[in-house]
């Protein structure tokens, strides 16, 4: 196995800059790895060898002329198949878009292209980003590289598995209720949900517009921060895009330390009822942080208890509206009814019946109900009020600490079969710690904090809105302290890989 695939993105960037290897070599090494492991992992829906090598060749050529290139130029990346890529199939893991090749470009892909990152392919996800196991994909499930009998999490399961499986050093996911942080936790990688509006959503297939956010992922904090820096920035094509200048996330992660940092443990999320190993790993990580000079305080966020309920009204409401456009009239799947008259209504019904999976249908029905006349105030209206309470709770909590911390998920990666996908309600509960950040629009990050029963445990850091820097200022040194204390999660996996 090529040593190139175990390097971090920033190591690759440095090596490319120093001329130690070429982007074509790096890209080819990762493509080889993908083709050798895809049968096991199933991380990708589409692998774009030719496009990736074309970009790599172009970047190598440009670099050889001495021209200025982006710091990450030549470092491969994978995009969740919810990110629109002009000319490359974009499916949202749904039969509805099985053969859809977008005629336009997303801002995310535009930025990636402009910076010269070879795109290795489009990663698997739960259909339209709905699910937390990546079993709800129309194109097969993704498996957790740590243990193929376990799920990689979701919905950015493909993006996370591709990182943990050393198929790619950088990955772009999306996070609506934890879909970047939870799979990062399950795969021992780093997943970031930036402040809402930090990264343009133009060309990100919408699930729930007010909650969706593009999530940079990497195998360490600085890599994720570098990808975040690349993707962030104001986009006039997205009305919710923030006008803020892009801060130095990488340097925040690399140069800060934990002394004097106040970490607020969210009382409601400190681990009661969580899997023992998860709670133990979280507590151990807090000890490491304290030893490195952080101050640990407990903070109360009472409305967080209702966040899950509010989320499961707001999210499906927006889903029901956003997914209405898949009606067989303009693009994607079009089905005619098996019998009876062919009308606009029957074509829509047949198309949607055939094109959407169960989880998507479940949420559309839920949302349609929650928005319907007579129920709006009781459901959607109340949920919006809770959303405001959660925002207020966070604002108050941040008065007494720099960041808030919790385990990312109550469990480690579930096992396929009995544990996963059988009980939607139980799976919804798995998002309890990640959802509040989406409701409040604040940034959150999951980094690996050791193992429980041989599977990674995620440690979540939340920061105030538009202060993503604060999150990196804790995540960077905490990661370093954990590694120094011997908690080198991905190394464990990498060692496993070399003997395979």
């Amino acid at each position: 196995m090529s040593e190139l695939i175990t390097k971090s993105a920033l190591e690759l960037a440095a090596g490319l800059k120093a001329g130690e290897f070429s982007s074509v070599e790096v890209t080819q090494a990762h493509l080889d790895r993908i083709h050798a492991t895809e049968a096991d992992f199933g991380s990708f829906i589409t692998v774009t060898d030719d496009l990736a090598l074309e970009t790599a060749t172009a970047v190598d050529a440009k670099r050889s002329t001495g021209a200025n290139v982006h710091a990450l130029a030549g470092v491969p990346v994978a995009l969740k198949d919810l990110v629109v890529t002009e000319g490359v199939a974009t499916t949202a893991a749904s039969k509805m878009l099985e053969n859809w090749v977008p005629p336009y470009e997303s801002t995310v892909h535009n930025k990636v292209k402009a910076a010269g990152l070879p795109v290795l392919g489009k990663t698997n996800l739960d259909e339209f980003a709905m699910g937390s196991t990546t079993e709800h994909s129309a194109f097969g499930t993704t498996r957790n590289p740590w243990n193929l009998e376990h799920v990689p999490g979701g919905s950015s399961g493909g993006a996370a598995a591709a990182l943990a499986g050393f198929q790619v050093p950088l990955s772009v996911g999306t996070d609506t209720g934890g879909s970047v942080r939870q799979p990062a936790a399950f795969t021992g990688t780093v997943g970031v949900k930036p402040t809402y509006g930090s990264i343009s959503r133009f060309g990100i297939i919408a699930m729930a517009s007010s909650l969706d956010q593009v999530g940079p992922m990497g195998r360490n904090v600085a890599d994720a921060a570098a990808l975040h820096e690349l993707l962030a920035g104001h986009d006039p094509l997205d009305s919710t895009s923030l006008p803020d200048p892009v801060a130095g996330f990488v340097s925040a992660a690399q140069t800060s330390d934990l002394r004097g940092k106040k970490l607020g443990v969210i009382k409601q999320l400190r681990g009661e009822g969580y899997q023992d190993g998860v709670r133990d790993a979280f507590t151990a990580a807090l000890d490491v942080a304290a030893a490195a000079g952080a101050e640990i305080v407990e903070v109360d966020c009472p409305s967080i208890s209702y966040a899950l309920d509010a989320y499961y009204l707001i999210m499906p409401s927006e889903v029901s509206s956003n997914l209405a456009r898949y009606d067989g009239m303009r693009y994607g799947l079009r089905m005619e009814p098996e019998s009876g008259p062919v009308t606009a209504e029957t074509v829509m019904a047949a198309t949607r019946a055939a094109g959407f999976g169960d989880e998507v249908k479940r949420r559309i029905i839920l949302g349609t109900y929650a928005l319907s006349a007579g129920y709006y105030d009781a459901y959607y209206g109340s949920a919006q009020k809770i959303r405001t309470l959660v925002q207020n709770d966070f604002a108050k909590a941040f008065e007494s600490c720099d960041v808030l911390v919790s385990p990312t998920a109550p469990t480690t990666a579930l096992k396929f079969g009995a544990e996963a996908a059988s009980d939607p309600m139980a799976l919804y509960l798995g998002d309890v710690a990640t959802i509040p950040a989406n409701l409040a629009g604040i940034p959150g990050l999951s980094l690996p904090a050791g193992l429980a029963d041989g599977l990674p445990v995620g440690f979540q850091i939340l920061a105030p809105a538009r202060e993503d820097v604060k999150m990196y200022e804790v995540a960077g040194p905490l990661e370093a302290a954990l590694e120094a204390s011997g908690t080198r999660v991905l190394d464990t996996l990498a060692e496993g890989l070399t003997t395979k």
């Binding site: 974009t90 133009f202 919408a206 009305s239 029901s320 456009r325 303009r330 606009a344 319907s372 709006y376």
Partner: protein, 493 residues
């Protein structure tokens, strides 16, 4: 039951929703061109098609135009408002929801003064003016009626999808009595004139720039609760609005008389017959599942901006009419004729170009209107205010008389050139040769001794009988005043 009888028996209540397409360069939420015509599906972007991943961005010019309309209607402009999604399925709605405003319109509670043809003023209470996007256009192929029923397939053109609209909704309009139909059409005409004055829309009814949905209900008396209403959709000419209201009032009265109930529904208006027919049932419980559009941030028009727009509002048609009536000294009747003929602007411009208001009015509403009428054109399509002013100037200078001026005008309308050029080229100038005039006068006197006697007897108006032969002899180029002086001099001389 006939309209005339229906209106005696029942009290009509009407409500009108007017949609106006704004004349912005691009669409309401994306950069696709906002232009009429073009091949099907050519003025589109991923956003106007609602492609997966596409997002809307508000067109600030559209907001500006909406605020101007709100201000012109005397509305309050919201300090903060939002767009909402109106969710419904239809193939011409690309996202299967329409971006609109529901409980937070940009403008609310205003009123519009309308002046009926006989000068009666009527105040229309405006509930709101809100922004939304237009849908695309379906063409149903294969059926007899062109409607979806019976068609074997439909074509969809999204060129219009996303075009900015402002929808102006009235409160129920009561107290119109037998003038309901006239009030309805005059109101829409008044709005049309306002849109044009604001320069926010070409407001061409025939291109669908302005469309009206007309609600009609009947009740036994003004004290009775509102009756069940019908909504006749997309009526797009003033005459059709009037006919649709008349038809609905007569139809509903007939049903009520027969002891039947009115079904709350949308109805289609048929241009050919002037009748309406049943569309789809519509209830108050139509469930559009409105919720705030999460892809757009709230709209917060700054007070400074609103005041700036208020300060730059042009003079509106009603104000202008009142002001000019005073300045020009026209009677109410004269002013109404001018307005009803759509000649206010033309006369204003003619006066600005140097003509006296009475002369400008006389020429525009007289000879120009007559010529235009022959050609089925609007007077302003025939000649320009500058040309009419020049013509009047030539009359004032004694170079043309009315008869000659009419000939010059006809030639100008035919594109022969400016009035002075036409006059010279055709030799239509008043004859200054007094010898020729004297000869013509003497000839006329000699040939009409009976008329001369009458004039001698003090019947001065009999002079007119001599003018005909004199004009004939001079090929119309005699100066009527001079001729008159000469006649009197010779008879009394």
């Amino acid at each position: 039951m006939k309209y005339e009888d229906a209106i005696k028996k029942y009290d009509p209540v009407i409500g009108i929703e007017v949609h106006v397409e704004l004349g912005t360069v691009t669409k309401m939420f994306d950069a696709a061109p906002n232009t009429f015509g073009g091949g099907p599906n050519t003025n589109i972007t991923p956003t106007s098609l609602g492609l997966p991943g596409s997002l809307p961005v508000v067109n600030e010019k559209g907001v500006e135009y909406a605020i101007k309309i709100g201000l012109a209607l005397g509305c309050e402009i919201a300090e903060t408002c939002r767009f909402a999604r109106k969710n419904y399925f239809y193939p011409d709605v690309p996202k299967d929801f329409q971006t609109s405003q529901s409980d937070e319109p940009i403008a609310s509670e205003g009123e519009v003064e309308v002046e009926l043809e006989d000068g009666t003023m009527f105040t229309i209470p405006v509930e709101r003016a809100h922004m939304e996007e237009d849908a695309g256009k379906n063409t149903h192929i294969g059926g007899a009626t062109g409607r979806i029923h019976g068609a074997d397939h439909s074509l969809v053109d999204y060129n219009r999808a996303g075009v900015p609209l402002v929808e102006i909704v009235t409160h129920p309009i009561t107290g119109t009595g037998d003038r309901a139909a006239e009030v309805a059409s005059t109101y829409v005409r008044t709005l049309r004139d306002i849109f044009r004055a604001l320069d926010v829309s070409e407001a061409r009814m025939e291109q669908g720039n302005v469309r009206a949905d007309v609600n009609v209900s009947l009740r036994e008396s003004p004290d009775a609760p509102l009756g069940t209403r019908t909504e006749t959709k997309n009526v797009n000419s003033f005459r059709s609005i009037e006919r649709a209201v008349r038809y609905e009032i007569a139809r509903q009265a007939t049903r009520l008389e027969a002891g039947e109930t009115i079904v709350q529904e949308t109805r289609h208006f048929h241009e050919g017959t002037g009748e309406t027919s049943s569309g789809r049932p519509k209830s108050d419980a139509d469930d559009y599942r409105y919720f705030p559009e999460p892809d757009l941030v709230p709209l917060v028009p700054s007070r400074d901006w609103v005041e700036e727009l208020r300060a730059t509002l042009p003079e509106l048609p009603a104000q202008k009419r009142r002001r000019l009536a005073g300045v020009w000294g026209f009677s109410d009747l004269e002013m109404r004729d001018v307005v009803n003929a759509g000649l206010l602007e033309a006369i204003d411009d003619t006066v600005t170009a140097g003509a006296q208001p009475p002369a400008a009015r006389k020429w525009w509403t007289g000879e120009v209107a007559r010529l235009a009428n022959q050609n089925d054109q609007h007077p302003t399509e025939l000649v320009t205010p500058a040309q009419v002013a020049a013509l009047i100037g030539l009359i004032n200078d004694g170079k043309l008389n009315d008869k000659l001026a009419k000939d010059v005008l006809t030639a100008v309308a035919d594109g022969e050139g400016e009035p002075a050029e036409v006059m010279s080229a055709r030799g239509l100038e008043i004859v200054e040769d007094t010898g020729a005039l004297e000869a013509a006068v003497e000839e006329a006197i000699a040939a009409n001794p009976d008329v001369v006697e009458k004039i001698k007897g003090g019947k001065m108006q009999a002079i007119g009988a001599l003018m005909g032969p004199i004009m004939k002899a001079t090929r119309g180029q005699a100066d009527a005043g001079k001729a008159k002086d000469l006649i009197l001099a010779k008879i009394n001389g």
